[in-house]
Amino acid sequence: MVRPLLGLLSLLAFANHARAEPLRPYRIVKGEIPASLSGKPGDAAKGRAIVVDRQTGLCLLCHSGPFPEARQQGDLAPSLAGAGSRSSVGRLRLKIVDSRALNPATIMPSYYRTQGLAQVAKAWEGKPVLTAQQIEDVVAFLATLKTP
């Protein structure tokens, strides 16, 4: 009996760790983070790779989207197709950094947050899910997802 989904949940646990770096400050203006978190532009191709990688971006655990190579996609959240048409870049950035700022009841994790979390596994203590530059890459990629 072959298991296609070998240990979905355990995969998450051993994911690549974002390096521990102090979080960079950011400013929220009218439901957006207008400035790049890293101070540099994002790389959309790298961003796409992060989004489809179940151990780094984790996005497809919950979302689906235009990723024909990713066989296992989630349906806990809306499809990412057209995300770049629905939101500005600054809003996409805030969505990834701290989704709760837009919807306090959301289940989407805050990707750039280390405080106010309970019982974080030792390997992840003090680390955000993604680094500032990884988030910029993801945002650059999402911005390319236009509704046809």
Partner: protein, 254 residues
């Protein structure tokens, strides 16, 4: 040959046992599985968990410890029927709830004069599976001792507490999103009816606590240790949530 006979003797028909009433909206993890995996659970000859049950039957009869007594010297086999369906129970000695594995270990210490078996080790899982298999098909019937109530409430609070770097509670997945797909895998309702059970992913039998530790590391939380009071409290809550659903031990899961 001998094994086949033992397994046949232990098993009783599940044909009518698994389904809850049609009007009951609750679904066992069994209902979310493929037909092949369901068939594997239902047939004692293909259910790998039965190998542990058989080892448990042997251990139940084995004399051990300074007392030289076997479990079977104190408990006739039918007396184990229904026990797993009402655990965790209140343990007067510690004034806390105790789960089935803890109870078996307590008998070893106090009655057999034998050392406790390691949690999640083969022998304790086998004994637990053997005892719990005798409740198969019976409805989960949580113990009614009022002294359990604060612990059950603690379990419920822990079930609803957000944990880990990804900041999820058990309820976020198993109440709010049960039936949806997490990266393609259906999220079950977290009913504890099949434990200890055989997971294809583990290639082994494992306890409910092992399952919960997996969910906790999935959200990048530091899991509670085996036997932790937090786990026993969550077990109490899950059993009350599954009250009336049929026991399935040994279950099979993907």
């Amino acid at each position: 040959m001998k094994r086949a006979l033992v397994i046949a003797a232990l098993g009783f028909s599940l044909a009518a046992g698994l389904a809850v009433a049609a009007s009951d909206p609750r679904r066992s993890g069994f209902d979310f599985m493929s037909r092949e995996t369901q068939a594997m659970q239902k047939d004692d000859f293909s259910n790998p968990g039965m190998l542990w049950v058989q080892d448990g039957a042997d251990l139940f009869k084995a004399r051990t410890g300074t007392s030289g007594k076997a479990c079977a010297d104190c408990h006739a086999e039918p007396s184990m029927k229904g026990v797993a369906a009402r655990y965790p129970a209140f343990n007067a000695k510690t004034s806390r709830p105790i789960d089935l594995q803890g109870r078996i270990n307590q008998c070893r210490l106090d009655r057999q004069g034998a050392p406790e078996l390691p949690l999640e080790g083969h022998d304790l899982l086998a004994l637990t599976a053997y005892v719990a298999q005798q409740s198969r098909g019976l409805p989960v019937s949580p113990a009614t001792d009022p002294r359990l109530e604060p612990f059950r409430r603690q379990g419920e609070a822990l079930y609803k507490k957000k944990l880990g770097q990804l900041n999820f509670s058990c309820a976020d997945c198993h109440d709010a999103n049960a039936g949806r797909r997490l990266a393609g895998a259906p999220i079950p309702e977290a009913h504890p009816t099949g434990y200890p059970l055989y997971r294809l992913e583990w290639q082994a039998l494992g306890s409910l606590q092992k399952r919960m530790r997996g969910c906790m590391s999935g959200v990048r939380a530091e899991p509670y240790g085996y036997g932790a009071p937090e786990f026993v409290a969550i077990e109490l809550y899950l059993m009350s949530r599954a009250s009336g659903m049929p026991m399935e031990t040994p279950g099979v899961r993907p």
